[in-house]
């Protein structure tokens, strides 16, 4: 099961190390982590995407995160109505001939060209991970020379549908 979990943490030194260390010690498989500051000084927010085999383990993960002294709040938002975004930078091979064609491919994705050189283009795209996957798929034939992805950052939408099926924790 792919879960999206957010943690609000105090910005003490070593907090990221402490949390990733705990995850690896407990053998959780991290797909991505994003971290950044929040609107409150001294408080950061992390978004984890984790691949977890069973429900018990999900509960363990949130409990172990909560147990960290620096962690203020943990939220498993997988089942909620959420906004989630990832940013990818993709460098694809291009010739003057293929440039326009590539432009046509990326446009429906609202991706942008950030840099043009004689034999390559750098493309910026943001969106849900599956949208980014789809674009990458389409760009493959042109030859991907370099790529970097930030991993998902996410939080719940302002309004939640009434019958959200919360993941039930036993505590």
């Amino acid at each position: 099961m792919r879960r999206i979990i957010t943690a609000t943490v105090q910005n003490s030194s070593g907090v990221l190390n402490r949390i990733t260390g705990m995850l690896s010690k407990r053998a959780f498989n991290i797909e991505s982590i994003t971290v950044g500051t929040t609107e409150i000084e001294g408080i950061s927010k992390m978004t984890f995407v984790v691949e977890i085999p069973d429900a018990n383990k999900i509960e363990q993960l949130t409990k172990q995160l909560n147990k960290q002294i620096d962690v203020l709040k943990v939220n498993d938002i997988t089942e909620k109505a959420i906004v989630q975004r990832e940013l990818a930078l993709i460098k694809v091979g291009s010739t003057s001939a293929s440039r326009a064609e590539i432009q046509g491919v990326i446009e429906p994705f609202r991706a942008r060209v950030l840099d043009v050189s004689r034999d390559s283009l750098v493309i910026e795209v943001t969106g849900k991970p599956d949208k980014i996957e789809a674009l990458i798929d389409l760009l493959h034939p042109y030859g991907i020379k370099d790529m970097t992805r930030t991993g998902v950052t996410a939080f719940p939408r302002g309004k939640q549908p009434r019958q959200v099926q919360e993941f039930t924790l036993s505590v």
Partner: protein, 577 residues
Amino acid sequence: MKTQTETHTQPVEQKLRTGADLFVQSLVEEKVDTVFGYPGGAVLPIYDALYRADAPFQHILCRHEQGLIHAAEGYARVTGKPGVVIATSGPGATNLITGITDAMMDSLPVVVFTGQVSTAVIGSDAFQEADVIGLTTPITKHNYQVTDIKDLPRITREAFHIATTGRPGPVVVDIPKNIAQEITDKTFDTSFHLPGYQPTVKPNPLQIRRLAEALAKAKKPVLLAGAGVHFADASEELKAFAEKFELPVTTTLLGLGSFPGGHEQALGMAGMHGSYSANMAIYEADLLINIGARFDDRLTGAIQHFAPEAAVAHIDIDPAEIGKNIETKIPVVGDAKEALTALLDIDIECTDHSSWSEETMNNKKEYPFWFERSDDLISPQWLIESVHRETDGHAIVTTDVGQHQMWAAQFYQFNSPHKWVTSGGLGTMGFGLPAAIGAQLGRPEETVVAIVGDGGFQMTMQEMAVVKQHNLPIKVIIVNNEALGMVRQWQEKFYEERYSASLMTENPDFIKLAEGFGVKGIRVSKETDVPSVIKEVFQHDGPVLVDARVQKLDKVFPMVAPGKGNHEMIGVKQCEE
């Protein structure tokens, strides 16, 4: 340290203090009475401050940093107060790693202060630099590096608070040398706010009610008491609860003594070398109430056979423990004492389970721990029974890890809490002697016995020097089987007697060794001599080291083989009669 303008600046000078002075002051404010420490370059400013201060605590210089931390653990285990350790940077800090991990696994409140190289050179591989934060992050409840003198007093307070509250555990504070040396005339605010750390002490009434309802319906209820009962000082409440509802009580290794071993409802320790009656009670139970135990795999055996019929209720102050290893139907987050008190207050009418109680008691009578006595060589179990008889079950017993540890758990009957000091979670050889030192310093009025293996003793035996220096009346009993006995037992049972690297035929002369340390040494090798020797040992008013030559091939039984369920114990014997 006086300066040239001595008289003129007197009042100002009194205000000037170093980071090290602030640190010593913090220990005084925390009412520390014993510090286990070892000096070195990076902590010299702290040692100088200790020298200058008239600190109201004693400083114990062990002979190896591993000794410091195990002593602090022993101290913490028997007093419930935090054990305090000071070590220098680099090698001093790395020598503590085993003990910090041990304290983490067994939830012991220990506060460790390590020296660090100056902040200006941190990260440069400076002389005696080690990344203490990186090294200790996975093995501490929390850790800190002080990077500004103004944080030092607050961090020290936080460290003590975190180590001793909620589920106790080790906290490390790394203090760079320049911070300890820095001079200040300010007083710093020590108030702290830890919004991410708010342990739940009072259990939720709804969770208590669910547990009570389950208990009312249960036909085969069993209690399992772990170390959490000790930490919560909940033995009285546990006894009242067990008696009120006539519940059979089993304990974990670390829970020994939390319920009186001699009580008629006590089934004793469960798990790999636990009693048949305890393991069978858990196997057949329809309700298992775990109070402060963490379902270690040595307790559970093969998980699919652990309490297969039971609804599991788990009372624990650490919510992350609940459901971690065993699926839990009724979670109760909170302090064991609070939870048991709340349960005692609820009015419930239990289903009659007297036939169940009878069955468990019958098992206890029919399948007790057993051993074979001989008239010649000493049976190690008999040796331990003799220690029990002589001390009336009231001594503080510390151990290393191995066969002697399991025999001590089986044959020394603990009737009161805070008497059993052993490395349960990490299983650390060399724990027994330094832990005994800490225990004796924490409880000077009590009899302390260290039951150790000939292997484990040789890992920390240099601490005999501390025993002598402080004339601690510790009785060290080496259960000498000239082998790494537990390893040999496994090799015999599971590796077709290939005794690879497990025989210790070249042991030192432990009597001469004792004498070298200035401690009385006694050797005993005949079963018939045991009673008189044990008497002599406990009558001697000072430390004694006993080299007890026991039967070499004795094994710890009963036993659950690795991968097996607890109901498949081998080496169970039915009582004759």
